[in-house]
Symmetry: C2
């Protein structure tokens, strides 16, 4: 069998993992698939990153476009990160009819339509398993394994950094800022953590999933995203006392022609499978109209888990290149039932509410209870405690409206906007 020439753009953490996996598993993959995957060229602007890697004779370049244009490169693996250069290289590769494998959720979220149009026009293949949920073969499961299903919902823990921070807060009782600092020291969180902790990275992944699972390409501007930085130690501890956990979820929920999407911390009962997913792991619940509920769990980031997904895409890219060109099929996100994307807002339902008041706990609790009673908000659990200067009251409500809880906050003279998190249970349909 003719070998497939692979050109790798970007040799940082993930890229070096891909080099290692291709080197270690090349023979195994050849036996399993019949494909001879040859790394022929690697590009990175920092040549010192390439030193010591098992390149197996691959040529090295400083400029990624040189690799894209090499005639011996069939499959371009884009691991540059960022948007500008990655976009240029990806579009050029697709235009040349190369098959592209990318892990770049940011690029896909911002420029997915353009890339998919370029891929269709060439025609060329575009694979992006590693862009969502790291090593978990989630996109393959949704696109191929559930091909007979209209997807009803996708809900998941898609950011390992946030899940690590929430798990550590839960286990140690520590404050958000302290846990974040520790995660940064350990390398689990970036020095500039906003992309993770503000839910933006999760929103990028939700965009990719909206396109893949619902044929509805989305941009982050269309998705409300709330991160985890407003959570305090009491939020975590009280929910733990009530057998609940807080998880940052990306959510897509379809009802008829409407698809609602967003990112938010969500309160889950401890019996929920997602509530049990701890540390840097990801897990995604996918519900189809035929199969019902399915869940996929694994490492959502990291050098080798992500490389596992990239290399499985390379194998699929090789198979794709063997298909006759007139058999080229989009396999999403190009065509599906038309749906309209709307922001997922939590206007009504059950809530975890936390009010920060200037008084001491006893008075604060009394005021909150009285206001809740006036507004007929059902209270399922309530706790209060001091913080400087004043106190906090947290509670789980029954069904009520968000606006009502905002009125309660105003009436009790809360010193800040209340924290209002949806309480959800995802039972199988």
């Amino acid at each position: 069998m003719k070998p497939f020439g692979i050109g790798l753009l970007g040799c940082g953490t993930i890229g070096s993992g891909v080099v290692e996996v291709l080197h270690r598993q090349r023979e195994l993959i050849r036996r399993r698939t019949g494909f001879d995957l040859r790394l022929v060229a690697v590009a990175d602007p920092s040549p010192e990153r390439l030193a010591g890697l098992p390149l197996d004779g691959a040529a090295t370049h400083a400029d990624g476009l040189e690799v894209v244009r090499r005639p011996d490169v069939d499959i371009v693996v884009e691991l540059i990160g960022g948007v500008r250069i990655a976009r240029q290289a990806t579009v050029e590769a697709l235009r040349l009819g190369k098959t592209v494998v990318t892990a770049n959720k940011h690029l896909l979220a911002d420029h997915g339509r353009e890339l998919w149009a370029a891929a269709q026009q060439a025609p060329a293949g575009l694979f992006f398993e590693a862009s969502v949920a790291g090593g978990i073969p989630l996109l393959k499961a949704v696109r191929e394994g559930l091909v007979a299903n209209r997807i009803r919902s996708v809900r998941g823990i898609l950011n390992g950094t946030c899940n690590y921070i929430l798990t550590a807060m839960q286990e140690t009782g520590a404050a958000y800022a302290d846990v974040l600092a520790e995660a940064q020291a350990k390398g689990y969180a970036e020095k500039e953590p906003a992309l993770d902790v503000d839910g933006i990275d999760t929103a990028h992944k939700v965009c990719v999933l909206a396109a893949l699972a619902f044929g509805c390409p989305a941009t982050t501007a269309q998705l409300p995203a709330t991160g985890i930085s407003a959570l305090c130690a009491e939020d975590i501890r009280w929910n733990l006392d009530w057998d609940h956990r807080i998880k940052l979820l990306g959510l897509l929920e379809r009802e008829g022609d409407l698809l609602r999407g967003g990112v938010s911390p969500v309160v889950l009962h401890e019996d929920s499978l997602l509530a049990k997913v701890d540390g840097v792991f990801n897990a995604v619940l996918v519900e189809g109209d035929i199969v019902g509920q399915t869940l996929y769990y694994g490492r959502g980031a990291g050098r080798l888990p992500t490389a596992s997904a990239v290399v499985s895409d390379i194998v699929d890219a090789a198979a794709f290149r063997l298909m006759p060109q007139d058999a080229w099929t989009p396999r999403w996100p190009v065509a599906d039932d038309p749906v309209t994307l709307r922001p997922l807002t939590f206007d009504q339902g059950r809530f975890y509410a936390r009010f920060d008041l200037p008084e001491g706990p006893a008075l604060a609790e009394q005021a909150v209870r009285a206001a809740l009673a006036r507004h007929r908000v059902p209270v399922q659990a309530l706790q209060s405690g001091g913080f400087s200067p004043g106190s906090r009251v947290g509670l789980l409500t029954g069904e009520c409206r968000r606006k009502t809880l905002e009125s309660v906050a105003a009436e009790v003279g809360a010193v800040a906007a209340p924290l209002l998190l949806p309480v959800r249970s995802f039972t199988s349909g």
Copy 2:
């Protein structure tokens, strides 16, 4: 695009589900994949089963071989069940170069080598996603999503009937026989339940997974299988008191060149994800050397979930038929590192042990504690209770040898062989 002609053999529960899904989702699948999947012929010896199904003009036959031999049938879907006729039809279809989709784990476990040899010789394609874990796209995940991984272990809840029974025992405190009778009345268990409750169905699935994940075709004769029929209400309740759950697991664990496989009830801490899988759901932990631990969860049986897997195989079969013949690749289980299969025995480790003694609880417990102390078996938890005529003592041990616990049973004059279940925790490597 040329349509693909589908011939369906067997129109029972799953077959009628496949007819329904092909009818309902044909247009959706065409839009997503470009494939026009046409049901051209259906065979079932009971014509009344075909009445009322949306056959969309498909021809009906009483004899499956007639369908296999029709020139307009490209893809044969074998849902006959059983082994003899299914084997004959599958081998004939492969011999004729048709692509076969089957859900028949029993056939694959008993005659997998023969079928894979026939598929290679033709060459022809053989797809069997629905044979293990129902609607969960588990085999696709292992074979394609984790193609860059040597698999280290596969451990899972693979039989929904047993998991339903264990969950009901846990929730109601009822005895095994009562819960089984109720499951039979509800249609969750067969009138002849041995295939499920004795672990044979799970063993069939373990055989398929051994071939797929380790390139090591196995037969049930090579796998020790223990079912759930020896479990009593106390086993479930005591473990629940100790924050543990009993689950029937299929297990494959690789160490170097050795692959150990078997089926057994296993005691898991409630924090384990598998311990949280309740009712008819299945879940499978798969560990790869690159990706680490992954888990897949969903409905492991049922008409539509299984049809979801069958139809995704039909789509893959259509894609396979478009590949040039010289690009035909086995994609397992034909070739992998050679491993030798050995029975998975639990000779050493932590155990849940239950001894049935003729005395009352106080005396029995005293005798068991004394014997355990003599043999230096670490005891982590112990309970006792009456049963007629005598009493039961159950305990969780620390590390010890199975033989030691058998000696304890003999010394205390147990009236039956002790129940000894492994206590395992599957942490990520």
